[in-house]
């Protein structure tokens, strides 16, 4: 039945496509006149028809309208709007360069009006952060931080300072698909979670989908973080960089062939070794502790119809303790993309990417006694997609993706007095596939986007599949049989249909209602049961024992702009239901355990909330206030007496205020304040003695039964720009910031322990509760940024 309705939908979409009228098409790329970067989301608008088009992720727009003469406005926030008269009596290709303020001949210039996209866009539950906004937010140690900036938006939370990743609308961190130029990044953090892997100098655009996820995205339950890199300045050489307290950055961009090809190469290296020294345990003074990353991209506009992009990322965190122990981890990604225009109305892109996350640990400076351990997730993918701009009121997208995964859950070799034992686990293999069809339709006051994604996953040999027997709830399941599979043999195949739907209804010129529904499936899982995920956590595929995670989310929102779009307001409410979530037995052994699946439990989740956001876009004083009221819960057979309990990142109230003030051309200020309810944690009820040790015991078997205290923090920043002289090629700025201004010791968690020190026999052991704060002081910083061109 379900398949039948899918078929009907497909038929409908193609019928719509075929009846498109004979119009002419105005199309092209919109770029920044300053540096040649393509602009994402710039608009081409025909006021006389009240029709327009936006540029896609590659800066391409396509507008098919009836023949005639039109005034067309090309606009992008913060840029001077260009108005051109177009005689559309044939298909016209028109590339537009938007500049800041300088007028060109024969053109009328309107200085960038604030846009009404908040209201008129079909898309809801999406936050776009402009890289310049991110750069203005006061940050820890003055380092511009993309992931931490996202946490200032409604619906985005974290388990605490220093924890890697982020949680979206009650989802765990592995439920976010983090894309860097379309390649997934499996661990988005440096130094656990203090800094993200994205170098702000190389980032162009950041977009987070929390709901209403279009059918073209798949693979994770809760969100898509789409980070797009700059192409590099195709006009002239430019260099920018910065020197801060924790790391230094340098980025170089230049044309290879002017207006046709350019590159950017951006690198960062930390001196965390120096910073962290006071925090390190005694005896570790000779430790190595650093991280670096390198981001590069180049593109080549072959001709009007073909463009190539090649981008890559390589980053590493290194820890070392003399010759005795070493630990390093990092991601590498590579993306090759080919944009091809089949016609003015038919835009296609095919992406090939490679992505890898791996870590290595080693102990022992002596070959006869050593331990080496590494693990990784590797994948290659091909992803073709086609956008058909039928007419300004109808866009169809169609595409697919195939990913081949190699999971190395752990290669480990221990040598003890020269005797070698290989305790590693065999690799696991899988293929993930997806095809989708998406139709976007505009009926004046009503806009629709509906689509369907069919995703498939095949857990492949070679490998051994285990069958587990029954065990008491919450206890380790025993292996009862195993079967070996050959290379490429299917061990277990999964397939899911994922319907997606969004609607926008324009209430008035400045207000709209939006609603969305999406079903998402996730086939790979991060095996992690610590409060903050660790770098050694391993990804595992869905298998014969692990089913794909599923989520259904509905969201409804009201969007309103005030005062000529200077103020944007949005209120969204959502309900998300999750199933087949991976959880763990008590005392689970998650690493180097070939019978890992016997330690896993299956759970359900639900999350609901209200997200409010008020944003001021224009003027000397800008910023936003975001407030989220939310609840997120889990229910797992074998945990919390099988009853619902709040998840570790459940935050009832989350308020954040971010503001920017431009005093004059040289000085600007920013401030950020967060106020967040305490997250829940678990405490024992009792203690008992065994062999002189005091063992904690939770007699009620409750999970997350206590709330840690409220979190609040104020950060401030100030930027002082150098004197602006038109002919000066070197531009510098000083950035001052204070993180945690009033030195609050915000709790990360509360834990319990027995008092330190050796206890004499027959002496009572004292047990106490400890509040752990990751940052206990205000942290001032100063950094210098420069630009040379």
């Amino acid at each position: 039945m379900r398949f039948k309705s899918t078929f009907t939908l497909l038929l409908l979409v193609f019928t719509v496509a075929l009846v498109a009228q004979q119009n002419f098409t105005l199309s092209g790329y919109i770029t920044d006149a300053e540096n040649g970067e393509t602009l994402i989301g710039a608009t081409a608008y025909v006021p006389s028809l009240a029709i327009g088009a936006s540029t896609n992720e590659y800066g391409y727009y396509s507008l098919s309208i009836a023949p005639g003469t039109y005034q067309v406005e090309f606009a992008y926030l913060g840029f001077a709007t260009q108005i051109q008269e177009i005689q559309l009596n044939q298909n016209i290709k028109l590339d537009i360069e938007l500049g800041y303020a300088v007028a060109q001949l024969d053109e009328v210039v309107v200085i960038g009006e604030a846009e009404d996209k908040n209201v008129t866009d079909l898309q809801m539950s999406v936050n776009r952060l402009d890289i310049n906004t991110i750069k203005s937010i006061p940050s820890l140690l003055g380092e511009v931080e993309i992931i931490r900036s996202l946490q200032l938006l409604p619906g985005v939370t974290t388990v605490g300072e220093g924890a890697t990743g982020f949680n979206v609308r009650g989802g765990s961190i592995d439920q976010n698909l983090v894309l860097l130029d379309e390649a997934p990044v499996y661990n988005s953090s440096h130094l656990f979670g203090f800094f993200s892997v994205f170098n702000p100098d190389a980032v162009k655009d950041v977009k987070l989908y929390k709901g209403g996820i279009p059918a073209r995205y798949g693979g994770r339950l809760s969100s898509i973080l789409d980070v797009r890199m700059k192409e590099g300045n195709s006009k002239r050489f430019s260099m920018n960089g910065g020197v801060g307290l924790i790391f230094s950055r340098l980025a170089i961009e230049a044309p290879i062939i002017k207006d046709k090809s350019s590159f950017i190469i951006a690198g960062r290296r930390s001196y965390a070794d120096v910073i962290a020294k006071p925090f390190l345990n005694d005896g570790l003074e000779n430790s190595v502790l650093n991280f670096y990353d390198l981001t590069l991209k180049t593109h080549y506009n072959i001709n009007d119809k073909n463009r190539l992009f090649l981008s890559g990322y390589f980053g590493r965190d290194n820890f070392g303790f003399g010759e005795q122990a070493g630990f390093n981890w990092g991601n590498s990604t590579g993306t090759l993309r080919w944009n091809h225009l089949f016609s003015e109305r038919m835009f296609s892109n095919i992406t090939f990417y490679y992505s890898d996350y791996d870590y290595k640990l080693n102990f022992g400076d002596d070959a006869a006694n050593s331990f080496d351990w590494n693990a990784s997730i590797d994948n290659v993918s091909v992803k073709p997609e086609l956008t058909y701009f039928i007419n300004p009121k109808n866009i169809i997208r169609f595409g697919g993706q195939a990913i081949y995964y190699i999971f190395e859950p752990g290669n480990a070799i221990g040598v003890s007095e020269g005797e070698v034992s290989d305790i590693g686990l065999p690799n696991k293999y899988a293929i993930e596939g997806g095809i989708y069809l998406e139709n976007e339709q505009d009926y004046n006051r009503l806009k629709l986007n509906y689509g369907l994604r069919l995703s498939m996953f095949d857990y492949l040999g070679s490998g051994t599949a285990y069958e587990f027997g029954e065990a008491p709830l919450g206890k380790r399941k025993p292996v009862i049989s195993s079967r070996n599979y050959n290379k490429w043999e299917s061990i277990k195949a999964h397939a899911r249909l994922e319907p997606r739907f969004s609607v926008q209804y324009q209430l008035t010129e400045s207000a709209s209602l939006k609603a969305s529904y999406n079903r998402t499936a996730q086939y790979i899982h991060l095996i992690s049961n610590t409060t903050a995920s660790t770098p050694v956590d391993v990804w595992t595929p869905s298998t014969n024992n692990i089913e794909p995670q599923m989520a259904d989310q509905i969201a409804i929102g009201y969007f309103k702009n005030f005062d000529k779009n200077i103020y944007e307001f949005s209120a969204e409410t959502y309900f998300k239901k999750m199933d087949k979530l991976v959880d763990y037995i008590e005392g689970a052994d998650l690493l180097l355990n070939r019978f890992l699946e016997g330690d896993l439990l299956v759970g359900q989740g639900r999350a609901y909330g209200l997200e409010l956001m008020l944003k001021k876009n224009k003027g000397n004083f800008t910023g936003w206030v975001s407030y989220t009221l939310a609840k997120t819960e889990r229910k797992v057979q074998g945990i919390n007496m099988d009853k619902w309990y709040p998840s570790r990142y459940d935050q009832t109230h989350n308020l954040s205020m971010t503001s920017f003030y431009e005093l004059n051309k040289r000085w600007s200020f920013s401030a950020n304040f967060s106020l967040i309810s305490g997250t829940p944690t678990t405490f024992p009820t009792s203690r008992f003695e065994q062999q002189g040790y005091v063992v904690p015991h939770n007699a009620n078997e409750t999970r997350n039964n206590i709330r840690i205290p409220v979190y609040h923090r104020l950060d401030i920043g100030a930027t002082r720009k150098g004197k602006d002289k038109p002919d000066r090629r070197w531009k510098g700025e000083w950035v001052f910031s204070v993180y945690n201004v009033y030195s609050r010791r915000n709790p990360f968690s509360i834990y319990f322990k027995q008092q330190d020190g050796r206890v004499d026999i027959d002496q009572p052991v004292i047990t106490e509760a400890i509040k752990l704060s990751v940052i206990g002081n205000f942290i001032p910083s100063i950094s210098y940024n420069f630009k040379f061109e």
């Binding site: 388990v159 605490g160 220093g162 656990f192 962290a276 925090f279 345990n281 005694d282 000779n286 005795q324 630990f327 102990f363 331990f371 221990g414 003890s416 005797e419 034992s421 049961n529 610590t530 903050a532 008590e586 005392g587 052994d589 690493l591 180097l592 355990n593 890992l596 678990t682 405490f683 024992p684 009820t685 009792s686 203690r687 008992f688 003695e689 065994q690 002189g692 040790y693 005091v694 904690p696 015991h697 939770n698 007699a699 999970r703 010791r745 990360f748 509360i750 834990y751 322990k753 027995q754 020190g757 050796r758 052991v765 047990t767 400890i770 509040k771 752990l772 704060s773 990751v774 940052i775």
Partner: protein, 295 residues
Amino acid sequence: MRTLFIIFAGLITFSGCEDVIEIKLDDGPARLVVDAWLNNQEVIQTIRLTYSQPYFESNPAIPALGGVVKVENGNGEIFEFSDQGNGDYNWEPSAGQSLGSVNDEFVLSIDLEGKSYSAFSKMNRVPIIDEITQELREDELGPDGIYAQFFARDFPGLGDTYWIKTYKNGKFLNKPNEINLAYDAGFDAGAEVDGIIFITPIREFINPFEEVESGETQPSPWAAGDQIRIEIHSINLEAFLFIELARDQILNGDNTIFASPIANTSGNIVNQSADNEVLGIFNVAAISKLEKTIE
């Protein structure tokens, strides 16, 4: 393998700031606790019966008095443990007598306040300790000084579980972070490190951990003249899983932001009369030991 990561995390995580705070906890019912870790030595064997208490109640545990406590071995020999009036129940062997030997099976039975409890344990094999070595270390992890290692070889065959105990000048190193466990020659079952000499971290985990001024705990070297005694206790699987999880839970706070969820230990004592929970472990260990004086 978690153990290994914990060791590593301990090295690299930031200390953060820690403040002792007061919080109000839920109440839990007091439960009977059986602490019955016996061995094959010709010394007084003690089983301790107490009750669990509220977590922040730091007084000694309340003893369970008036119980009848017996251990029976596979040969039908019954050992009666007598109530000492403080929670301890003792059995004193006569000269040349012990509870039994390797491969013997034992049943513990307790009658207390009209309820009966029982438990089962087998005395597992224990490898001999070949050698304790010492080494002067400088410019390595931890303070300079003399560190020791012991050498013993695990039996071939999976599933041998041991608790390695260290005594410094006759005093047991009893801090939770000094609990040294081995599953075969490695850390845990999933690793399948079998039949070889215990792996390095286990061999070296016999050095004491002491607090230094900064409040951190780190390995502490031995001094010339110190007497070191190593005992390997063979323990049953339930005892191994119990003490491993108990240690991880007691030390969980040291993992700071990487703490695990709280988990209850499972014991191997069964309440025959009702299904209310009883806590603790019954194990009869075989012990091998070796001593050395640090030079």
